[in-house]
């Protein structure tokens, strides 16, 4: 009885502090998860704003046989598989260079971080411009000058060349973030370990392989999970650079979900796509657990 009373009293003290936040978290973070699940198995009417009747997995079956969903799923997964390893390797590489304590460290760091802080809308426009078709496009001009392409490429008119532009943007914009996190991780590795290894005569590569990489594992996992979510959240770049075209060939799951919801007003179908994405993200970011378990 007294425990109940203390509990109530404690709640009375805490409630004014946590209630405003709690209401917002429930409305904007918790409720949407359940509402997505509910809408995906019911027939949601946009006009009345009500779910009318249980439809089971009809929407999921439809998604599985929708050719655009298949294209978008492949595009989303390839996007993650192409961009994340490159981002992480280059980010780690730059962090290692900076960690060697060169002069002008902060300046380099600030310059490499600049893409991270600028808005997606603006940098998407820049990349769209850089990958313009025709000989005046800057990427065409540079590649042509180097003799790598014989004729100007119409980058945005074909599926995978358009993705070269979209991937480049993702990689360019994310390296700085990976670099800063890895740098923080590197600063946490005790210097004594390196000194001991150096005295034992181990080279740069062995120090990297046997000290740095194992000790950075937790940081790597954190970056990986974050980048997986980032890759699946890619929307503005696609919306601004190709808008899913030509003929839905560059649609990713998120951009197609958005179209289903706000262009075709099929909210139930859009919620279904959201659910599919949530499962994919959990699968992707969950793989690190398997990796760690295997090692034990």
């Amino acid at each position: 009885m007294t425990r109940l009373r203390t509990g109530l009293r404690q709640w009375k003290t805490a409630l004014p502090f946590i209630l405003p936040g709690l209401i917002l978290v429930i409305l904007f973070s918790v409720y949407p998860i359940f509402q997505n699940a509910r809408m995906s198995i019911t027939n949601f009417n946009v006009l009345t704003q009500k779910s009318q009747g249980f439809v089971g997995f009809t929407n999921y079956v439809r998604a599985a046989s929708d050719p655009v969903v298949v294209t978008a799923t492949v595009n989303t997964i390839v996007y993650a598989l192409v961009c994340i390893p490159i981002e992480m390797l280059l980010g780690l590489f730059i962090a290692a260079l900076l960690h060697s304590g060169v002069r002008g460290n902060l300046v380099y760091r600030a310059l490499c971080y600049l893409p991270v802080i600028t808005s997606w809308v603006i940098v998407s426009l820049i990349f769209r411009y850089l990958f313009s078709s025709g000989q005046g496009g800057l990427v065409n001009y540079l590649l042509g000058g180097l003799g790598l392409i014989s004729a100007p490429v119409a980058w945005l008119s074909h599926r995978w060349t358009a993705f070269v532009a979209i991937w480049s943007l993702e990689i360019w914009k994310s390296i700085g973030w990976v670099m800063v996190i890895y740098l923080a991780g590197l600063q946490g590795v005790p210097k004594a370990l390196y000194e001991a290894a150096r005295i034992d005569g181990s080279g740069w590569f062995n120090r990297l392989r046997f000290i740095t990489v194992p000790l950075l594992r937790p940081v790597t996992v954190y970056i990986l999970v974050n980048r997986v979510i980032g890759a699946f959240s890619a929307f503005i770049s696609i919306y601004m650079i190709t808008d899913g075209g030509p003929m839905n060939r560059t649609e990713v799951l998120l951009s197609y979900m958005y179209k289903a919801g706000f262009q075709y007003f099929e909210f139930s179908y859009a919620s279904t796509l959201s659910m599919i994405m949530a499962v994919l993200i959990l699968m992707f970011s969950g793989t690190h657990r398997l990796l760690i378990k295997e090692e034990k």
Binding site: G21, V25, S29, P32, L97, W120, G134, Y141, V180, S271
Partner: protein
Amino acid sequence: MMKKAQIGAASIHILLIVFSLLSLFPFLNMITVAFTPNSYVLPYPPKFFPDSFYLGNFVESLSANRFGHYFLNSVVVAILSTFATLFVASLSAYGFARLDFPGKEILFKFYVFTLMVPAILNIIPQFLVIKSFHLVDTRGGLVLFNVGGAIAGYTFFLRQFFQALPNELEESAVIDGAGRFKIYSRIILPLSGPAMGTMTIFAFTGFWDEFFGALTLIKSEGKRTLPIAIRMFQGQHATDWGFVFAASLIALIPIIVIYIIFQKQFVQAGAVDGAVKE
């Protein structure tokens, strides 16, 4: 021996300069185009540096198309969202860090769990919530959307900062009979100035660039924020790139200014940024 070290340092510098240039190059190109008149067609060969400081595009974007109006919308939405987020999240964080109540741990786990689901997947239910409040196509609705989506993350980080503060001050204040709210406003907040400052910077820059919510919620032209306006400029002018990039550069100014002033917070506390936004 000395020579080898010098070569090593030089090659590190060269690599870092290459990476820095790659980071800067797209911006450089944007600046060049913004200073170029009549940039409907791409010049051949492409220009890498502006050959004149032609300001026409800047003048045009500042004067025409209600640019100032959109700029003001962005300022108002970003400032209100930042203030509300920090206020509500710091209250919650104080509750979770410093007060005891049954079920606290489970409740907080719920907050952390919501952080695992990318916010962007919630857009349709969130839209319906805003709609049920009749706040679609209002700046207030956009602020609510911004704040609602950000609370869990900011609570998570501020709670960590608050937990790290020493207990003694708070205990003596309780003995002196100070109320909880007084402790929060007079002791905890002043002591966490740096943390709150960093969070303010991240929140403001994040809300300034916010695109997804504004695209979904704002319909009428007069209520657009800058990212949406810039997207529309690109559509409506059969793209006058000089004009679009001049407008983009003006939109970037607040972010760049904040970045230059608070550069250290960005490049060191990037960890916080990544986990709160995205």
